[in-house]
Amino acid sequence: MISLRGLTKRYGGTLAVDDLTFDIQTGRVTGFLGPNGAGKSTTMRMILGLDHPTRGRALIAGRPYADLRRPLRAVGAMLDARAVHPARSGRTHLVAQARANGIPVRRVDEVLETVGLTKAARRPAGTYSLGMSGRLGVAGALLGDPPVLILDEPVNGLDPDGVRWIRRLVRDQAAEGRTVFLSSHLMSEMQLTADHLVIIGRGRLLSDTSMTDFLAAASPASARASVPDPEQRATLVRRLMAIDGVSVETSADGELTVEGSTAAEVGDLAHHCGVRLHGLSDIRVSLEQAYMDLTARSVEYATGGTAERGRQ
């Protein structure tokens, strides 16, 4: 588990990270979202001991990263996949990494195999494509077989195959009981990958909830139903409209969009009235939409900078 307590980073006059307190739980994928410049990378760097917090602290399994004697066995991190000496081969980079933490060198060849870089392993890392650099970064994160993974934009530069591969890998790692903390700009990808969300804006915590709760909160209950028989359709619409706070729209092809009611409720009602259904589903807001709504609000709120500071 990773715990942040009042983590704060100030650069000169600006607060890059402002009093972040949250926990990243074991056994699930926690997605880290926020607009550019929200402080995601700074937060990750502070968790990993690269940047010194102005205030507060970040602990991994109860200890600061710098106190871990063999940190790669405790935390696997990928921050900037391009941060490799361009003349050094991918394999040598990993060998130097393995030696730093007493990891056997055969493990290097295992992770190279896992990420599909075996063939390019002895080429200078400077000749790698962005996608290959990303795979090398992931190989480095997996090297120590750590219980905690911290990945900053792991799908950056990957092709669709690579994106799917990362998704599966990350899900598998969490299913094995590991802690996974990852940031991404790809909302659709995040929706498929993460169980839990931590969203920050302007360095402040905006949301720390499960994916399901976040989406549910962002979208009022609504459902889509397809009723083939016009008469039955009319009956169902009438019964639905009778419920307080429910409105129904009927499209040209006879599909009903029910606002203020879940698919389960519509289904129960249809069953009760003996209405035949051909389709029934909840309408969910996409993560992208929900995220945009939230951050739009936060940006508006944050634009009143002086007022915001006055609240503190």
């Binding site: 760097r45 990993l48 001991g49 690269l50 940047d51 010194h52 399994a61 200890r63 990263y65 710098a66 871990l68 004697r69 063999r70 940190p71 790669l72 066995r73 405790a74 991190a77 921050l79 900037d80 391009r82 941060a83 490799v84 000496h85 361009p86 003349a87 050094r88 081969s89 040598t92 980079h93 060998v95 130097a96 990494q97 030696r99 730093a100 933490n101 007493g102 990891i103 056997p104 295992e110 896992t114 480095g140 120590g144 077989d145 750590p146 219980p147 905690v148 598998d172 094995e176 009981g177 590991r178």
Partner: protein, 272 residues
């Protein structure tokens, strides 16, 4: 978290005890040193520097001995040629050690290094140790080759005492090792090769040249307390020195230690 297994089929011990002390395999300082050693030899820069250092030593000692012969200088220990060559060959070590540090900043790989070894003093000490060992061994080899070249070129204008010669060869190695430590400190403090090299060239070459060129007791005394001035006093045999060899070594050690501490101070304070 009881009996999970990993994809590798290994037991999940790393997960249940991610950081348990007492493993056989090294981490910590030994790991940091092994990692730095691997990194140093994985890029061409190190080989090029050493090759250049060897060539420079060969040429310098040849000329030193030839000039002594042609100008009928008094007979001197043969090792003096190699000792004198350190004034130039030290820059092979300076560049090697500078690049070992600053290339990590220019490529951003210093972040990787600090993730692998999060204790900054450990990274700093490991780099200093690895470059110092390389500088000691290469410095001694340079001096050995330089002495052999000079012996031929002196053509009788030099004396050969095995004990003195070995001592001089080791002294050159020790001086180069201290230059490596000094350089690593300066490079961590500046983070940029241009800054590090300007400081080191000034300190190890330009300033001594100016001071000795101006002459006079005060300037000579100042130069005797600069790293190369002091180093020269324990590498050279036969010239009159204002202090003992032990003092000379201590002066260079003090410079190396000061640079090391300044580099460490900067490295610990700044964000990577």
């Amino acid at each position: 978290m009881t009996t999970t297994t990993t994809h590798g089929g290994q037991a999940a011990s790393p997960r249940t005890a991610p950081d348990a002390p007492g493993r056989r395999t090294p981490g910590g300082f030994a790991g940091a040193v092994a990692s730095e050693w691997t990194k140093l030899w994985s890029v061409r820069a190190a080989y090029l520097c050493l090759l250049a250092g060897l060539a420079i030593t060969g040429v310098f000692t040849f000329y030193y001995a030839s000039i002594a012969r042609i100008n009928d200088h008094p007979v001197q220990p043969v090792g003096n040629a190699a000792a004198a060559s350190a004034v130039i060959s030290q820059f092979a070590v300076v560049i090697l050690a500078t690049v070992a540090v600053t290339s990590e900043y220019s490529t951003g790989s210093v972040r990787a290094t600090l993730l692998w070894v999060p204790r900054r003093h450990r990274v700093h000490a490991a780099k200093a140790l690895v470059t110092a060992v390389v500088a000691f061994l290469s410095g001694a080899v340079f001096a050995l080759v330089g002495t052999a070249v000079a012996w031929g070129a002196f053509d009788g204008r030099a004396s050969l005492d095995i004990g003195t010669t070995v001592q001089q060869i080791l002294a050159v190695g020790a001086y180069q090792a201290l230059v490596a430590v000094l350089t690593v400190g300066v490079a961590f403090a500046t983070r940029h090769p241009a800054g590090a090299l300007s400081i080191l060239i000034t300190l190890l070459w330009a300033l001594p040249s100016v001071l000795l060129g101006l002459g006079g007791d005060t300037f000579t005394a100042v130069n005797d307390h600069l790293p190369h001035g002091a180093g020269d006093h324990f590498m050279h045999v036969g010239a009159d020195a204002p202090y003992t060899s032990a003092t000379a070594i201590l002066i260079v050690v003090a410079w190396a230690a000061a640079a090391h501490l300044i580099g460490l101070f900067v490295l610990r304070r700044t964000d990577a």
